[in-house]
Assembly symmetry: C2
Homo-oligomer: 600 residues x 2
């Protein structure tokens, strides 16, 4: 039900915004915003993913974008209710621009816009065929003699990358590449995914054997095909692997397994990439117009350089290479690091009776999985949320509607609550010597993920094993060196070890560009991920959006795509629209591209 009062208020603001923008009256539009205000835009105005902060920011954005955007037909989304909580009116909106249809979300305080989200949904004339516009499939009448679906598909698979060139080459066939590939196929953009592993899903299958998703199912859906209602809350890695493999198949993705990109270069004159790949031993040169690095946040292993690595007599492996506890019986294992992988690996080893020590070099945020689901994700991604009408798609928009500048404020109370309800648990963990934090500003896990993609563990049992001493813990000191059979810490402690596992995380994705293209291009593009929050591993200045992700970079026609399943789902939509627009020759003036402040 619409509450008439708040709906009328929201409608009034929208109508006045519509009028001001239609008349190109930027000052009148600004008059509708509160003193503290944010306008987050996904493509609709900026052909960028950009948050304009404050009236000065919005003025600048509109003065660049308004004329060619030609926004109009702002209205409340009739499918949704307008609500009011604590003096803030929240409303779902729809609008159009010269080239697209969009949806958004607005928060109004005291009659003025506090936050505004505008997202591009579809390009006019290039809508995805679905529902009533879905393809017929069968060939009727005179088309019955034409090539069948199977013949066409086989022809496409045989020729793409050989006789014909993909418009988009996606390097990396994990969830990121797969979700993007599915979107592009629906938009009719010829795309090829290459993946170094043999089969879709192998990037999950090859991880340590106890790995399960740390995010619950409601947060993990891919576009187009949802996990069924009997799907586990935290899918085991091989099950996710199978799902990705079947998804790539039924979504008809052009997917080359066992294929590695060797080198790439961009020709400014022809606006074409030359990418040399090794496909199962055969060298092939591809010439796509657009290149997407979907190689993953967690694919460029970060192994620290430590004195004595050359003399250590046992096994050394990065967490990404660690298969699990099989074959570790009787060995002493030291795991350097204290994030998700470190905890999972230690727990599986300890459960299998292996003598394992976690070396915690710096403080770590821990959230119990149950608490995270209940307090942090539950309101948006859960059975309860679904029962309240909050589908995954709506949840994505609600989460996106909070500008990153405010997100820490929104998150802090959630983690304050978690800290309170789990106080005993945290006490015991600290008594066991574990160095705990809730983020530099107590904003908890998600902000750590968005800022640095590290520094936390979602507890599914390892913390109790640390408390109980089943996982030994050595914390508070950096590693000084390895000896032939031990790890020595800077404070002099010595941990005997037959195996050293570096659960030391991953490097910035522009490292991929350095390897594949050149250091120059990697430096031109700069650091990938992070907000510029001036917190550990996310140096300032403030940038307001994740660096280089899903949006134009300083290297023409080079894109970065990745993140967890949720980000792969949500942002693949916007990346696909950007690529489609470029393929169709639609003008895509990019507003507000950030300068590069850091190269790694």
């Amino acid at each position: 039900m619409l509450d008439t009062t708040v709906a009328v208020q929201a409608n009034n603001v929208l109508n006045r915004l519509d009028e001001a923008l239609t008349q190109n009256d930027i000052e009148a539009a600004l008059g509708l915003f509160a003193a503290e205000c944010y306008w987050r835009d996904m493509l609709a105005f900026t052909w960028n993913i950009k948050t304009a902060e404050g009236k000065h920011g919005i003025r600048d954005m509109l003065s660049h974008c308004l004329e060619y955007t030609q926004p109009h037909s702002w209205a409340l989304d009739e499918r949704e209710s307008v609500t009011e909580t604590g003096g803030v009116i929240e409303a779902w909106i729809v609008f159009e621009t010269a080239v697209a249809r969009g949806t958004g979300f607005v928060r109004i305080k005291d009659g003025l816009i506090w936050t505004l989200l505008t997202t591009m949904d579809e390009l006019k004339g290039y809508e995805e065929p679905m529902g009533v516009t879905r393809p017929l499939g069968a060939k009727h009448g005179d088309d019955q003699g034409k090539p069948t679906w199977k013949e066409e598909r086989e022809q496409e698979l045989a020729s793409l990358g050989v006789d014909t060139q993909p418009y988009v080459l996606i390097i990396g066939g994990g969830q990121g590449g797969i979700a993007l590939g599915a979107r592009l196929r629906q938009l009719g953009v010829p795309a090829l995914i290459i993946e170094k592993n043999d089969r879709p899903g192998d990037s999950w299958r090859k991880r340590y054997k106890s790995l399960c998703l740390h995010d619950p199912v409601w947060y993990d859906h891919l576009p187009y095909i949802k996990f069924p209602r009997n799907w586990p809350v935290f899918a085991p890695k091989d099950k996710i692997g199978d799902w990705l493999e079947m998804y790539a198949r039924v979504m008809e993705l052009n997917y080359w397994g066992a294929t590695e990109a060797r080198r790439a270069s961009y020709d400014e004159a022809t606006q074409t990439w030359t990418v040399v790949v090794d496909r199962d031993g055969e060298q092939i040169t591809l010439r796509p117009r657009q290149l997407v690095l979907a190689t993953g946040m967690s694919a460029k292993p970060n192994v620290p350089s430590i004195e004595g690595q050359d003399i250590f007599g046992g096994i050394q492996q990065h967490s990404s290479e660690h298969p699990g506890p099989d074959g570790m019986a009787g060995k002493k294992v030291a795991v350097i690091g204290s994030n998700n992988s470190a905890h999972d690996i230690c727990a599986a080893l300890a459960e299998n009776g292996v003598d394992v020590t976690m070396i915690q070099r710096s403080s770590t945020h821990i959230s119990r999985s149950e608490s995270l689901m209940k307090y942090a994700l539950g309101p948006l991604y859960s059975e309860e949320a679904l029962a309240n009408g909050i589908t995954t798609e709506k949840a994505d928009m609600l989460f996106a509607s909070i500008p990153y500048a405010l997100l820490a404020d929104f998150q802090k109370p959630i983690f304050d609550e978690i800290r309170k309800v789990d106080a005993d648990f945290y006490d015991q963990l600290e008594k066991a010597g574990f160095m705990l934090d809730f983020g530099p500003d107590d904003s908890g896990l998600f902000m750590k993920y968005l800022r640095r993609a590290s520094g936390y563990y979602i507890d599914v049992g390892a913390s109790q094993m640390i408390i109980d001493g089943r996982i030994k813990l050595e914390s508070g000191s950096e590693v000084a060196r390895l000896t032939k059979n031990s790890v020595q810490l800077e404070d002099g402690r010595e941990i005997p070890a037959d195996v050293v596992i570096y659960a030391t995380g991953y490097g910035s994705m522009n490292g991929w560009a350095a390897d594949l293209i050149s250091q120059d291009v990697a430096d031109k593009v700069g650091k990938v991920w992070g907000l510029g929050s001036d917190t550990p591993k996310d140096p300032g200045p403030w940038e307001g959006e994740q660096r280089n992700m899903w949006k134009p970079t300083h290297q023409e026609s080079l894109w970065f795509h990745g993140g967890n399943l949720a980000q792969s789902r949500f942002y693949s939509h916007f990346l696909a629209l950007q690529l489609k627009a470029r393929m169709e020759g639609i003008d895509t003036p990019v507003y507000g591209q950030q300068p590069v402040h850091h190269t790694s």
Copy 2:
């Protein structure tokens, strides 16, 4: 919105039914039914699929079933509206029995029940884990060292049928076996599917190459995972094949491809089947408790015996063996038959320039695909239906709520309308010599399907090719004989032919039981499919439900499952519940099993 008046009326009837049944007062219950009345029950009362017709039928059913069923808590389904059209109140209902929860649908005329559908949804204590009760997936805490999902799955695949026996053996791994296998897995019933083709989906892949589904996508969903919104209206056979293959994988079915059942026998004493199978060359003996023949309505080819088949010099093939037009160039092809396959095969041949003649021996119903979708399926299975809140699951229940005795009356006006709007089309077709019918009582396509599963073509273009003479037509006579190079009709016409394709349909599924078990068992079970409508190929007497499908047969622990995707979806639920109840030792007294009137 509830219309209070009709909702109150429906509620009153339900309350009085609840009261009468709770007090075991059958006559009071009968007093709530109209003189013409039907109670269709799926398991809840009868542990059968059974329509009690008239007060005498309902009295008999209740007098046998009421005491042990203990129905109670009848109520309007709060999620749905009560509606009234043309004096008939329609309401969705919920109820419980001693062992189960159920839902249903009631039609009330003049305050009295006209039709009542009661279906069992779930067995108490054996609910499927989904939504809030879905499995956790990840192994937390002390379970972290236990076997992983992958290890457990590999162990199950290696041992089932070898070291351990499935409770249910499903012979046939098409959509029927796969849908049932998925339901059984969710209910925790150990099941094994065997399929003679190598891979799930091959039974579709191996058909003639132009084949697409004749039913639209909204009607075709499998349980648990819906086709995505970009899925074609009529999926090409190979695309459906891929979907079935991925579905079997992600639903974790135990599926043996390249496996044929050789013989089966039932031991009354141990209540166990002995089934000898050939698994890719290896002979294996399986000992399941329950045996399901899901070999398909369309899997036992019916090739007529015709004089001269031994002297014909060209190629003879049943439609199920016909690969498509490749390699037929320059040949003269005669297709005997005029149903779906005959039309599809002729159209693909004609499109490829092959000289093809359809030999129509008896009249055939034709519905144009567009008209069928608009007038017949549209109100229940379409984008429009979805927009009206009629999900596939609701549509299934609405369709099931019409007793078969009334269904022809419900269908006739639809096909009267189709005949009217497509009058020109039908005129042209008759002028081309095509013998047309709308069923013996003008009830159209669906009744033909339910009665005999033949006698119609859903037109996707072949009819126009007959009108245009691109497919030659010889109609009105039976085939007399084949010569070395022609087909001779009884009226003397002679059709030159290098190839004869028998598009002559399929035999009753109890033929499978004859081949696999014994003629005695096949005869004891009797004819499969059909309603006893006393119309061509569906001899009387009236039975009121499809013979032997998805319900107990006269052979203990032998079941038949099949039909189109829609029936595989809907009825697999009830067959799975029957098997689960038996596995768990729940008492399942079967009411109203029909005597066998026909053996084939």
